[in-house]
């Protein structure tokens, strides 16, 4: 496999659209708000970056995320998807996802554009269906709007996913139960649940340190997470990765590419590509991305090539985040280490403590291990 970012034979791509109407208080993603005038320049530069491919690439999965891709006007969205169609053609069976903000989809012109370009999966940034939480999270839609949008898109989409956040300040388990219940009444195929983390650089972080925002206690947050796992499973969703739940045959294939270590292209500010050995990350600053592309590109900010040992450890950890875990023989064939040879006696200890479950052929997380998995990763990754 050639190690060149644009020359490789990847069959997946991610495109980052760094625009939002408003930066929510918990968000630390690569994006700009109130800079709609930059969108034209972005389209120009994205086109330049895609042209570095030199020839179009046939894809199995394509994911357009952000930011908020649907923040673009219908005309801009149309041009974005045209560029993408030109360089990244797909089969009808390919998965084509776009992230959408529910209130943007009230505009039927945008829906038409998305549909015409063959998008077959929408990931809706719902976050909650409780007015209190929506307000706290600074989201601009209402539960009613989510219903309406869902009904409008359901007939022609293969998959609908929605994001839900739990563990917001002052949240009760009952409030979260209502979220899960109301979400289960919607025609969705896939749910991603995220525990709110208050990251550096966000306005929530600042408020937390001024004591005007108090992080939810660990025990309540844990109960919410466990409830989601139990209840969604009862509702027929398969818990297939730490935060992902799907109805049969509706897993997100694009994300599975990330988790299984397959190569992918990344375009746009902050996007990463992966050749299977090397990761290249574009500049996270939108204006820096523009400057680099306008002087011939690429817009790579940093690259990382892991040695065999480090790569195997990373793969072990990322793979264990999938509930099916690792097939031991498969892991050894692929990365040249047995899991025990790689991690050493610590692994036996984690198995003995019941955080990991080893059978003859597999290694996977237990429920207890899942709940504190970051602590496990720290132990596994330490040298």
């Amino acid at each position: 496999m050639p190690a060149d970012r644009y020359g490789m034979e990847a069959r997946s791509a991610y495109i980052h659209v760094p625009f939002c109407r408003h930066r929510c208080g918990y968000c630390n993603f690569t994006l700009v708000s109130g800079r709609d005038a930059w969108i034209e320049r972005y389209l120009l530069n994205l086109k330049r970056e895609l042209a570095l491919l030199k020839q179009p690439r046939q894809l199995d999965t394509l994911y357009i995320g952000g930011g908020t891709p649907t923040h673009l006007s219908s005309n801009q969205l149309d041009r974005l998807l045209e560029i993408v169609d030109e360089w990244l053609p797909r089969e009808p069976t390919s998965e084509f996802t776009i992230e959408a903000n529910p209130s943007d989809l009230k505009d039927h012109r945008k829906l038409d554009v998305i549909r015409q370009h063959g998008v077959n999966r929408i990931s809706l940034g719902v976050q909650s269906l409780q007015p209190r939480k929506l307000d706290l999270l600074e989201r601009d839609h209402t539960p009613r709007e989510v219903h309406d949008v869902m009904n409008a898109i359901r007939p022609w989409l293969r998959s609908i996913s929605l994001d839900l956040i739990f563990g917001t300040p002052d949240e009760t388990l009952d409030e979260w139960k209502s979220d899960i219940f109301e979400a289960s009444l919607l025609p969705v195929d896939h749910v991603s649940t995220y525990g709110l983390t208050i990251e550096k650089g966000t306005s929530f972080w600042k408020r937390k340190h001024e004591n005007s925002l108090i992080e939810l206690d660990e025990d309540t947050s844990a109960s919410c997470y466990e409830y989601a796992i139990d209840r969604l499973s009862e509702l027929g969703f398969e818990h297939y990765e730490i935060s992902s739940f799907s109805r049969p045959a509706h897993r997100c294939q694009h994300n599975e590419v990330y988790w299984s270590g397959k190569p992918f292209f990344g375009f746009g500010p902050g996007a990463a590509s992966y050749t299977g050995t090397r990761r290249d990350m574009n500049h996270r600053s939108t204006s820096q991305y523009f400057k680099l592309m306008e002087t011939g590109g690429p817009a790579v900010f940093e690259s990382e090539t892991l040695n065999q040992h480090r790569r195997a450890k990373e793969r072990l950890v990322i793979g264990l985040r999938r509930m099916e875990g690792w097939n031991l023989a498969h892991f050894e064939d692929e990365y040249g280490f047995s899991v025990h040879g790689l991690v050493g006696p610590k692994l036996k200890e984690l198995i003995r403590l019941g955080y990991l479950i080893e059978t003859d052929s597999t290694l996977k997380l237990s429920r207890a291990g899942l709940m504190i998995s970051d602590s496990l990763w720290t132990k596994i990754l330490a040298d």
């Binding site: 995220y194 660990e218 990322i318 504190i372 602590s375």
Partner: protein, 604 residues
Amino acid sequence: MTAIERNNIRNFCIIAHIDHGKSTLADRLLEHTGTITQREMQEQILDDMELERARGITIKARAVAMHCDIDGTRYELNLIDTPGHVDFHYEVSRSLACCEGALLLVDAFQGVEAQTVANVYAAMGHDLAVIPVINKIDLKHQRADEVALEMEQSLGLPMDESIRVSAKTGIGIPDLMSAILKRIPPPEGERDSPLQAMVFDSHYDEFRGVITYVRVMNGTLFKGQKIHFINTGSVHEVLELGQFAPKRRPCEELQAGEVGYVICNIKSLDKVKIGDTISVPGEKSGTALSGYQEPPRMVYCGLYPSDGQDFSELRDALTKLSINDPSFEFEPESSDALGFGFRCGFLGLLHMEIIQQRLEGEADIDLVQTAPNVTYQIMTKMGEILEIHRPQEVPDSGQIAEFRQPIVRVNIVIPEEYVGAVMKLCTERRGVQTGQEYLSPTRVMLTYELPLGDVIYDMHDKLKSNTRGYGTMDYEVIGYQPADLVRMDILVNGNKVDALSVICNRGDADRRGRAVVKKLKEEISRHMFEVAVQAAIGSRVIARETVKALRKNVTAKCYGGDISRKRKLWQKQKEGKKRMKSIGSVDIPQKAFMAVLDTGEAGK
């Protein structure tokens, strides 16, 4: 320059509470005697700051010689500065031994403070002539009359003897000058007697080595002389001697009664002990002056490198520090829980904080420090006396005949309305009241005898918070007394952590045990397993708390480009354990080691 007649020399110091204007008064005297011009004053101040920076803080005495001519007679005034903080009692006493008089400087608004009282008594103990000086009389809210009365009532200094000045504006400085000449007696001593010179301070100069500050009591010191430091036993040759004016001014000799400095190519400060006597080697040697002692280390603590830090780096840093500060001592020790480290002795808590800050600031060493403790004494049933510098050294209770703790006399000066609150505080700490005195109709001085261990950690903070910042205190050690003391151990998941043991009063043990385990529970973060924290006396558990196992620690999102960032984050958590020690498999942060100081008193 011709030598000054011994009768025309005056050696004195200034006693003052912090912020009562000591350095301003010193500057004014320097200026009045023409020792320094106003223009030079600026430079002088800068020089001083340099020196203070090099030493960390103004903790040491300094000396400056001033001259003035009155009615055709030339006088020499030697001002010996004394440190103000209670940690440096011993240095203060050596400086006082070099003086015949003291200016007691009191702020015309603040009045007499506890520290002032303690230092005045110390000066009187050395038979010094004390001149009461009321400063800041230019202030709008000055109450000089009342303050004069306070001094008379509390210190027995007659009201009409006080001199009123403003060091800031210069009012009253000539009156003060003549009072110094008239009321302070000239030094005694004979220039032809065997040499006896008192070492009252020293500092390290990177070009000249140790600069030793001396007061010649008898005999004469001269250039080229062979001298003998009686207590340390070392012999050196005088390369240079002179006076500070205020910069070093070399001269040929220093006679009985004079104050100055000596340089003898000594490369380490620990070779020059404060309070030592300089004489000549051989038969003509004088005897040692009384009062010499090792600097008393009042507080001990263990310093250990954090996980992943190097023991030898810490040792090198401590060695380097001790060259500049011989009053701090350290020796290697090991702890079952913490591994290899050092037991360090300090003059007091301020001194300990200074050293710790310098270690972290200058040497960039990541430390774990155990809770400070005072020195206890144990008499064993065999009749042996043990000095206990750390709780681990306490033997089994069956071997103890008597357990003794250091007792201090504490003077506390407070506005009258806080008497009740302060008495309550002292009683809670088993204080015995020995005095109560009205300094003025509204200000009271309470005297208590209290265990040093109950005073040293947080008594000052407690006093300030109980008196809205108005209370001041000072203390001095008066001896050891038997008490009903026990060692309280802390167990983490059943394992005794020696570095967390404390010595406390048996009657307080239950309350303290509960407070300490509760505090530890807050400081120890959740682990992958439950952590039990217990306090025990001998084999009896007196308190228990449980740090619940971690319930949730999971990163939700991990996609595409984020994978490497998340991986680095997980990896970093192990490296990021600054100021931590892993004991068994439990990570104990620095703050937990201080948790054992929690007294469990109400109102915390």
